[in-house]
Point group: C2
């Protein structure tokens, strides 16, 4: 297999290099054909670099970046003033073909804005989308998009999201004719807002997409579809509400366990099961999210990701690079547009 | 205290009279000043009525309704063809001032449509909203609206929802100057879609509402506000997604418990705690939802509600009738409109 190069923003996320550098090392051990370009301050990177074996060192390039983007920095300000940041550098490396993909756990808004202006969208794609896999019954997975890249999605944008999601499921998960659904407030044709209804009629007319109709909020985890499409406003609020609910439930159980000694024992015993719940309820924390529809591959790891979760995000970037996802999206959109004209 | 009369649709919901008639009896025992008009087929009601004491019988009126609305019936069809249904009758009774409020666990879409056309909206209110209380940290509660009455909400409708939610928190929960927030994808002013941004500027200009700004999906359960306002499309999908997540998590725990005997023991012991979680994750199942903004009081119990949950919905109807919520909403909207002109 030919070499692949992934650029990493080591300064992003709540834990920065502490979790990202160990994840980088594990990724190099896992993928023998992988090279990594680390973007961050030279001093931090050198110290760590010196602890590695020569063999690993030859597969790493250090790209010194004096700036970094703060987690609460305004996106447009980051784009204008942080041209020497680790986040910007990794995007530049992808844009200039020095890297096949990049991964950051940094400020989501800044990453969306920078990636949009640096990499640009693919021909035929109006707006990029943030997509993540959500766990479903029977150990299944469903791609949910958009998770907040665009809060004003018209039906053309939703339609393009359906096409992009379908390509991801086909290429990354090798699902033939992935089932694509639209998230709605009911399953009947007359239900929903104007955007959703119009998108449905566009998808029904498109043979290249296996559109199966509307699904409701309670169907998301029910393995009804391989891809579920929604507006970034809805997707963002739903995803974040699951996180809020997870934290709330954990707190409630902790509180319940403090009521008496018997409940304390119960809670201690129940903890292994509750950990299962916690992971399931914060899907993006574990899986990361991909920013798709751009001319390059960008994977967004959760800001609070562990080293293991960041490694998962690197794996996602490797897989997308191997399958050349942007090219496949470009081809599919062209085919669909041909069908429509 | 003066007498109150509540009309009940005994045919609504998954379990109909089996859970509704016992709830009615308990409500009569709980509220000595309450009268109940039962709407449903005479045969079912008479048989149950005969088992009651004379004292209770004098406080019940049976209103024979030969029709009932099916759970999956199209709303417009139900409105046109089910004029003799138990759901329609209870609304007619409220409209004709024979009842102070009504409760149904039936088909939500049909109830919304019928209530809208039979009762009409209050002056100054464009559209009714479906609102429910969601549990938050430290045993708090937040009113979340709209949960699906309107999927195309412009900023004027969202603004009216803020006013209505504020009245509910003030009247029902006796909160002085309830904190009202808008659900958004971020807390900064520049975040969000056009409707939300415009609603924010309208609320900032309105002294009669204690508007505290944007909250995100993960803040819903965090006790940041007393009222959270969102579009019915977003609210419906978020609420239903919590139900889906609850069912999913319960199934996952069951599956995990089947892996070996030790896990089976763990799961059995953890069950009391998991029941806490289940209830928290399906707030509307327990609390019911109110349809507000109409000239009469309509409470929607969850279709799958237990007798206890249906009793909760009756209590909600009693409380709204005692506090004359529609009048209070009318007054507040008038005051706000005066302020704006």
């Amino acid at each position: 297999m030919s070499h692949l190069t992934i650029a990493l923003d080591i300064m992003g996320g709540d834990h920065g290099p502490h979790i990202i550098l160990p994840a980088a090392k594990k990724a190099l051990q896992e993928f023998p054909h992988l090279k990594i370009i680390l973007c961050g301050p030279q001093t931090i990177m050198s110290e760590w670099f010196d602890t590695l074996t020569n063999t690993l060192q030859t597969r790493i390039v250090l790209s010194d970046c004096p700036q970094s983007v703060d987690m609460d920095e305004a996106p447009t300000q980051a784009f204008r003033q942080k041209k020497q940041s680790s986040m910007r550098r990794m995007l530049d490396l992808v844009n200039e073909d020095h890297a096949d993909a990049c991964v950051s756990a940094g400020n989501t808004g800044a990453l969306l804005t920078m990636a949009f202006y640096v990499l640009k969208t693919l021909p035929g794609i109006y707006r990029p989308a943030l997509v993540s896999k959500v766990p479903t019954a029977d150990n299944g997975r469903v791609y949910l998009l958009d998770l907040g890249a665009n809060v004003n999605c018209d039906s053309e944008v939703l339609f393009q999201y359906a096409v992009m999601g379908s390509v991801l499921a086909e290429q990354i998960d090798e699902i033939s004719k992935p089932k694509v659904a639209l998230l709605n407030v009911g399953v009947e044709d007359i239900k929903g807002n104007d955007q959703v209804k119009h998108t449905a009629s566009m998808l029904l007319d498109t043979e290249a997409i296996n559109y199966i109709g509307f699904v409701e909020g309670n169907d998301i985890f029910g393995q009804k579809a391989d891809v579920i499409v929604t507006d970034g406003f809805v997707g963002n609020i739903a995803l974040k509400s699951w996180e809020g609910l997870a934290s709330f439930v954990i707190e409630e159980v902790k509180k319940a366990s403090q009521q008496n000694w018997w409940r304390k024992v119960l809670a201690a015993i129940a903890l292994p099961l509750l950990k299962v719940i916690y992971t399931k309820m914060k899907p993006d924390q574990y899986n990361g999210a991909s920013l798709i529809g751009l001319r390059g591959i960008v994977v967004k790891s959760h800001g609070n990701a562990s080293s293991e979760a960041f490694l998962y995000a690197i794996r996602q970037a490797v897989r997308e690079a191997e399958m050349q996802v942007p090219n496949k999206i470009k081809d599919k959109i062209e085919a669909v547009l041909m069908e429509r004209h």
